[in-house]
Amino acid sequence: MKYPIILLSFFVCLISRADIFCDDSEQSASIQFTDTEVAIRISKWASPDSIAAKLSKKPGRAKALFTMAFTRKTGPSVARAREACVVGKGNPLLLSCQFLESSPVKVKLSIEGSDESQTFDISRADFRSAVESNRFVGAQGVTQEEKVSFTGIMYGPGLTSGTTLSIEFQGKDCGPAPRIAR
């Protein structure tokens, strides 16, 4: 009787759930919770005049990959990074995180398909999602669509003010996705 429980515990430990995962084949975002960190990975087309567009030395559109792992929020009430986030009870795509690190974490920006990359020291970040439900009329009558957007505002010693990172998806491209724990 002991062995199936041990085996089950092993699989529960091995497999963790990415709480939010969006992918529309052009851009993607994942927010993965573990006991020790909240890992955020965003791959998006760089906006004109953005840091990523300047970092990419090739003309034309550049695709930027942002990776970051927030580890801990300081303060008396929150000991672990995942506790810095609240998730919507009725809608698991709703998320609000306030990270305050005791020492800055590294946020890496890489240009996909090139060796160009840059890291930023971030000591504080606010990361939120929003879900928008839109109704509009077309030739076939009224249609409803859902959009999910993520906005991160990051602060760090090398940044003069909050740097914003945002990305938007159709609701159908988002959901919880099982992933193998690192």
Binding site: Q98, S133, R135, F136, V137, G138, V142
Partner: protein, 183 residues
């Protein structure tokens, strides 16, 4: 006698036919969409703040109030060019519009106007509900009526410009206007 009464009612109902109107208004912006017999009349007013619809249309950037007037055909190439929702009276959308429509804009109110030729014009309304979480976990809801406009100038057809004009639902009305031959 019955036939005469029916004929009279038929003629009267034709004379006082009602046409849908959609209007949203604040102290700084206005959108009015009025359906006529074979055209849809559009009246938009607002400031030319950076990245706004009027800054893109007029190529100005200031806090003056500008006005745009357009007349859009309801039918193009024997197909409907305009859709209006019966279930949601604030919802409308242009469909396939002809190329080369003229947009007339001016400083509001001013008799001096400028006419620009457009390669394309798309105009629609949508009802949006945006939900987000506060750091305390409370769901914040914001409802709005959004007018989405995309257009390209005839001399730069490849450059499609887009802009939204947002209103709170309380600033909007959908009603009916009796048709008058003077319009």
């Amino acid at each position: 006698v019955h036939l005469l009464v029916y004929f009279f009612l038929f003629v009267c109902s034709g004379s006082f036919a009602a046409f849908p109107t959609i209007s949203c208004e604040t102290d700084r912006s206005l959108v009015v969409v009025e359906e006529g017999i074979d055209s849809v009349f559009v009246d938009i007013q607002g400031q030319a703040l950076p990245n706004s619809f009027f800054s893109k249309l007029t190529k100005q950037s200031d806090s003056s109030v500008y006005q745009l007037r357009m007349s859009l055909p309801k039918v193009h190439a024997e197909k409907p060019a305009f859709a209006l929702s019966e279930e949601e009276p604030l919802l409308f959308s242009t469909l396939e519009l002809p190329s080369g429509l003229e947009a007339v804009w001016s400083l509001a109110p001013s008799p001096v106007s400028q006419t620009v030729k457009l390669h394309s014009f798309r105009f629609r309304s949508q009802l949006s509900r945006r939900e987000s979480l506060t750091p305390q976990g409370t769901v914040e809801r914001k409802d709005l009526v959004r007018f989405g406009i995309s257009f390209a100038f005839a001399d730069k057809p490849e450059e499609v410009l887009t802009a939204d004009i947002d209103f709170s639902p309380s600033a909007c009305r959908a009603g009916e206007r009796a048709w008058s031959p003077a319009r």
